[in-house]
Symmetry: C2
């Protein structure tokens, strides 16, 4: 199944609502349930945002599926070919909701959970058909960000993972199969580390939330919208590749430069592993080529931000204004 005709979203907060919008925009008829009476208004708002965004991207928005509000979980999932659970992150609540989904859904329906960190093995422990549970962890705003982490538990069937990944691809997303099941998967482990270090910076009075955010958005945030941690530093290493970079930079990772200092031993084997992985990842482009690709992307981002008068784009606005002032001052001087 690459694209189901019907789907259900159980739990309609910011994440569930955006799932429903993304599915409907992809032509799927969606049934949504949330006990909160405010969910319907949120759903309408999020769907508006999603339609605006897809229009701006030039994606078709006129072959939309329907979105229906169901009066119970059972009603929402009864005819669904795919269920996305998106209730709050409380293990006991997840268990109750999964039970309600299972008792009403068709036995073959794949049930995906939006959890950002609970292991599927824990969630499926109390299920009747645990083989059909999989984690499909999206990122806010779900109707725009392509990433979805797909994680199976010990009892998840391989076909369940394949089905979920195919459905997500049908929604224009990028499923990332997390092969080893751990708490918080991949992205949120990185995010948690940043959170913790940021909380230390605030606790220690070093920086405010605005200063921390500026340190991100005017600097490495622009890099990470297009190349991740490893590809970015590969480019910085130049023609010497990742080995050159890591030999220069690696030792500083063992300096106590952050509050979070638990570093794995920097063995030659770990370095070999990273170098080999990075070569496989980015070896198709040489460093010069990657530099040009990076710069083209950054130029594009900065122009977007300038047009929207936001963040790093404001430095460009100020720079152009300063140039104009300098130019007209020079002109005035000539006129006198």
């Amino acid at each position: 199944m690459s694209s189901p005709g019907t789907a259900a979203v159980v739990g309609c907060g910011v994440i569930g609502a955006a799932w429903a919008a993304r599915m409907a925009l992809s032509g799927i008829d969606v049934a949504v349930f949330d006990p909160d009476p405010g969910a319907e208004g949120l759903l309408a708002d999020v769907t508006d945002n999603a339609v605006t965004a897809w229009r701006a991207l030039g994606l078709p928005t006129d072959e939309r599926g329907t979105i229906d509000i169901a009066s119970s979980t059972a009603e929402a999932v009864r005819d669904a070919e795919f269920v996305q659970e998106s209730v709050p992150e409380r293990p006991e609540l997840k268990a109750t909701v999964l039970e309600a989904i299972e008792s009403a859904a068709r036995p073959e329906t794949v049930i995906a959970s939006s959890t950002s960190g609970i292991r599927p093995t824990l969630m499926q422990a109390t299920m009747t058909h645990p083989d059909r549970l999989v984690v499909g962890h999206p990122f806010n705003p779900v109707y725009l960000l392509p990433l979805v982490e797909v994680v199976g538990g010990e009892q998840t069937a391989p076909t369940t993972i394949e089905t979920a990944a195919a459905i997500y691809r049908g929604l224009g997303m990028r499923p990332l199969h997390v092969r080893v099941e751990i708490d918080a998967f991949i992205a949120d482990r990185l995010l948690e580390a940043v959170w913790r270090e940021a909380l230390w910076l605030i606790t220690d009075g070093v920086a405010t939330t605005a200063e921390i955010d500026d340190a991100i958005t005017y600097g490495f945030g622009l890099r990470w919208a297009q190349m991740g941690l490893f590809e970015t530093y590969r480019v910085a290493g130049g023609a010497g590749g990742f080995r050159h970079f890591i030999e220069q930079f690696g030792p500083t990772l063992e300096w106590p430069w952050s509050r979070l200092t638990d570093t794995p031993a920097f063995t030659p084997e770990l370095i070999d592993t990273i170098v080999a992985q990075s070569d496989r990842q980015s070896g198709g482009h040489d460093a010069r080529e990657l530099e040009r690709i990076r710069d083209r992307n950054l130029v594009g981002f900065l122009k977007v931000l300038e047009a929207n008068r936001w963040g790093a784009g404001t430095t460009l606005i100020e720079q152009r204004a300063a140039r104009r002032r300098a130019g007209s001052a020079a002109h005035d001087e000539q006129s006198h």
Copy 2:
């Protein structure tokens, strides 16, 4: 001094070369010294990239200052109104180079160091005029990323910090004054935390460099090019603001969801501090407005990446192709 007529760059690797290019493009005559005979070629390559990037941004590139290769540090800095030291991250090397700069530069010249983490107080300990040393920590590629962390040491004069910040603004950059001197300043503390968690993911065999990079570039990296950690989650918190978000999400930060688990105590005082800072930072826009700003920026980034056939843009390319195939299949069906 908002824009010096002359400047020196000592140390011409990827960072020093890009400083020289950014300065020359801003109309400053730059003298560069690096003992490595390969530096001249690197400088030419980086300057080419910088000119291409500034042209693509629509910034003027024809009123450039000159770039001269000096035969020694002394020759490079003798007539400079501003010096940017960019040699490798070895404290003893920094000390030697700073001594050579000081003995030849005019006594009033501000000397900035590109160090990404060494405290200026340590570097200025052996200097004759320590009041004029400041850290100006840029981000690669320096000719495109606006962020520069400006950090004074115990002996740095307030005017030194002001001068450096004004010069950086004159280069179209965004100086971020790091008010409390700590190792690795702000951005690199966050980056170190990510590095360490990423190394654990590789060491534990959970993810490869490519998978980690995908988790960044298809997901939260797109967010961070325009809103940082706190503003992003403020938006996710919706109308309830940051307090609502942190009350929902805060507890999960105390779950052992990463290898780096050293979290500051989540006291009501810390929550109050964060909420107040976030209100000051983003309170001028309500959550709905921030959502629309975020979406406009993301749409722009995704279109840039699609035009460059890169990263998250490839999901859009595939999505459009799938739509076309579905459309032509429907058309074929109708024709039969």
